[in-house]
């Protein structure tokens, strides 16, 4: 709390002393820029734990980030950002390196970025934490599961990127490869723990060989309209841990290739912004405990989509709403609430000034797909319908 207050005061002092940039603060007349944000929210969930510590309300809903960027010569830019979050029992306010890059832009059509790089996926994959760029508190879970934030936010590796004018519009491309460091503390572990294969605290080790992917954005000749296609895949996403049926035996799982395919569109016209995204994930999960001759293989993955609309009301206010649908792909049964999740959300945003905003949001969930029951996210008896209220304030500089 003291650290948070100190950071807030520091940001205000910087704002007063330095030249302000759009989305960052320039230090004097140099090219060094600093930026960041601090947010604190409150989440209330009436029936299910989604994914606070317990049914009810919690203040364990916050994020903070601080970044520094500098330019060297005409083409090179270096920078990095640290980030911490608390989302129920996920994150635990542990500071992590969110991104740290060296970027050499040869020309508008070709650049290279390397280091810890933000993971391009859909409209918001690189900007999962940026409250300032959207009216919503929680992005549609059908495409952006908050449990996966610490897993899909960035990767270690390299990217080539650029922009080419064509068809009276432009195409922005990104092609990337690397790997994502993962560990049992990360939210992704609960996807495995929820499957009930591991004993005790669940999966003990997670790793992957690589992530590779590409994204193409078509900025169409129609003002404000763009289409985005994103594809990426992990190779050998593997876990180990004590087998629930025989805890002294190690259970190993592996998904040789887990893919993410996302199609997105956004249309901004006047004060309105409309968006829609569809995502398919999937792979073949192989599970084995060779010592006791146990094993099986099955397809895993989900299909998710949403449509969203938001409208600015003057300089200070913004309202938004979306409807999202997420369902498992294997043996989907539309009459089984555990196989789907529908999410209807309504949001209201108020900008006090350029640096401080407030949001209020209500969700009505139907279905319990991805409503986990694990050590960290307990839902022993999930209910089909769940209402979530969220409020959040963010200070950015």
């Amino acid at each position: 709390m003291r650290t948070r207050r100190l950071l807030t005061v520091t940001s205000i002092v910087f704002c007063a002393l330095c030249g302000v940039s759009r989305g960052a603060i320039a230090i004097g007349n140099s090219n060094v820029q600093i930026g960041g944000f601090i947010s604190q929210g409150y989440l209330y969930s009436n029936n299910n734990n989604l994914p606070t510590e317990d049914v009810g309300g919690t203040w364990d809903f916050r994020e903070a980030a601080f970044n520094v960027t500098d330019t060297i010569g005409d083409h090179l830019r270096v920078g990095g950002q640290v980030f911490e979050q608390r989302f129920g029992n996920i994150g635990q306010d542990k500071m992590i390196l969110d991104w740290a890059i060296a970027d050499y832009n040869f020309s508008s059509w070709f650049g290279i970025r390397a280091g810890r790089v933000k993971y391009p996926k859909g409209l918001y994959g690189e900007a999962l934490d940026l409250d300032v760029v959207r009216p919503f508190i929680l992005l549609p879970e059908a495409v952006y599961s908050p449990i996966l934030r610490d897993f899909t936010a960035s990767f270690d590796g390299g990217m080539i990127y650029g922009s080419v004018n064509a068809l009276k519009g432009s195409f922005d491309y990104k092609v990337f490869g690397g790997n994502i460091p993962i560990s049992p503390e990360k939210g992704v572990a609960d996807f495995y723990n929820d499957a009930g294969l591991y004993a005790g605290n669940g999966v003990a080790a997670l790793r992957m060989d690589s992530v590779k992917g590409a994204q193409l954005v078509w900025n169409t000749p129609v003002s404000g309209l763009k289409f985005v296609g994103s594809y990426s895949y992990f190779t050998n996403l593997a876990t180990d841990g004590p087998f629930v049926g025989y805890p002294v035996v190690n259970l190993h799982s592996n998904i040789e290739r887990f893919s993410w395919l996302t199609y997105s569109t956004e249309y901004s016209v006047g004060d309105w912004t409309f968006a829609a995204e569809w995502q398919r994930t999937g792979g073949e999960l192989s599970v084995a405990a060779p010592l006791i001759g146990y094993g099986f293989s099955e397809p895993v993955g989900w299909d998710g989509w949403y449509v969203a609309a938001s409208r600015r009301l003057g300089d200070k206010f913004q309202v938004g709403a979306y409807y999202g649908d997420n369902q498992q792909r294997r043996n989907f049964n539309s009459s089984n609430p555990a196989d789907y999740q529908h999410d209807t959300a309504v949001s209201f945003r108020y900008d006090l000034n350029d640096h401080v905003l407030f949001k209020v949001e209500a969700h009505s969930f139907n279905g319990t797909y991805e409503t986990f029951n694990t050590v960290r996210i307990t839902n022993p008896h999930p209910k089909t319908n769940n209402t979530v209220f969220a409020v959040k304030t963010t200070v950015s500089f």
Partner: protein, 142 residues
Amino acid sequence: MNSHFLRRLGAIAALLSLVSLAGAAPAIIANKGLEKEKIDASTLKAVFLGKKVAWDTGGRAILAVLKSGPVADEFLKGAVDMSSSSFNNYWRRLAMTGGGSAPHVFEKDEDVRKYVSDTPGAIGFVDSASVDASVAVITLAP
């Protein structure tokens, strides 16, 4: 009758001149070191969207923008086809995700002009009435 007509004409002319004053007329200005740089609409857009970071004649492209107002609205709509709010979000997103160095933002025309004048590689926009000899005025190449 004639004097009445002239009075009405005078009133209309005064009104038109007020409307004209209220209308935004942005001028693109650049550091004098960029006078030889060939800048067309496509280049201008790439620079203001952070896609092109260096000038062909050398030096880093550094952006100076007005925070808000009709001149900013008019310029951004014409140059990058965005509203001020969209442009703001675009750059916040880039700066916070390692995608670019954000533009320098100023409240007044004079501050933009002074920054552009003092900073090699800088480009910005101001109301055309605020242009002076300390900066180069950019006419877009066809």
